[in-house]
Subunit: 135 residues, 4 copies
């Protein structure tokens, strides 16, 4: 947690968790062999259409955070990611969230998620049916 | 829309709508006679426990935005606000959202929303049962 | 001052004054008849090459701020703005600053500031030689 | 570089370099055995009173950045840090900067920098008289 990300209550400003979630999502897609630049080169853009956050406990300045991300749903033009943000040491659960994305092409029209992207996000990443944040 | 709020796609970064929603919420509570400082002086803090956003269309740099906010639910220790963010001129609907807050006291424990706060947020602000963003 | 702009010390995070300065600069150029879009349509972009800030006193959440901006220097390819950020009510001086911009064309190469831009920023806006923040 | 940190020109918004500089400063003081929490426990706070930035070249989304920081001046109540922000791979110099801090106590009054803080920041960290950014 950076100082810039805290607010006058001494904790992370609530909008910043969406930023952490994006940082994790980027790392996730890169780890799956799909860096942002490559997606873009394929004319694929995953536009955020929905976001949900549940705030369980606050994070403070300098807290080390662990953001876990998984693909929760993958069908047609839509991919949904689920997130668990924990204190990296105490493993206390701080925030859970979800973002839903529609795949759009260069013309910004919705299009099917390409097979190689689908494969990269593939089933093994979806984990068990169980909740995203129990491990 | 400030330049700082845009991202490399040339549109408002998605986390910033939570900031706009908060700015509108602050103006709303002040207009109801409950500036933040007064709430705090009463030992009342409305902590965000949940947020939801649906992105319909993007906003660009320098776009004038109109954020409409209303109390959608008010019971016990919980208040829920609903938001419609529109382009202030074209009135195009850009984002809808909801934030849920729990009232906590100085000890950070949940407590009933005080009657005067309840009265200020009162029923007339809840609007019809209809959707938040049609009118 | 928005809540999102404060930090754990309860005051505006120091980087945000650069945002306020830009918001004022945008309003200033628009008031001079040169909205950003028009500059861009003319193939003119004023790229920040230098920024300086002096922090005199902190601003807190919900403080109304007044940002005064003037053209301090205007020559060739360079324009320099000076800023005074005050508490809008107490008129206490909080921050002074300066940003220096180089005019670049569509090819991102430095170019002379066009005459009409120069005229709009014109001499009368440069004020007396005296300090930017006394008055 | 996070997506949230870019602006509509596709590059890092200029205010965000102050955030990067702070992140580096925090890491630096921690590496010197003086984590923020310990400074605070000693009743020491290093308040920013001045900041300067020179923008040489822009950084884009996902660029890996290297921020080098050193103590440039250390006397009485004042410490000044100098920064070089480079592209971590190409080593291209992007931004240079400086921040000046006054040491204040719990009463927010300026005070001498305590000997142990002075020792930690010590002379060896000040480097040669040469420019901050030539390596």
């Amino acid at each position: 947690v950076r100082y810039a990300e805290t607010d006058a209550q001494g904790v992370v400003y609530h909008a910043n968790y969406l930023v952490y979630m994006e940082v994790a999502r980027t790392a996730f897609t890169r780890a799956r062999g799909l860096p942002y630049q490559q997606l873009e080169a394929q004319g694929v853009n995953l536009v955020v259409v929905e976001a949900k956050l549940r705030y369980k406990a606050p994070a403070a300045y300098d807290d080390p955070l662990l953001v876990r991300v998984r693909v929760r749903e993958l069908r047609g033009k839509v991919v949904r990611f689920a997130y668990c943000i924990e204190h990296a040491e105490s493993r206390r659960l701080l925030v859970t969230g979800e973002t839903t994305h529609v795949c759009v092409g260069r013309d910004f029209r919705p299009r099917e998620i390409p097979p190689e992207v689908r494969a990269a996000f593939g089933p093994e990443s979806q984990g068990p049916a169980a909740g995203a944040c129990d491990s």
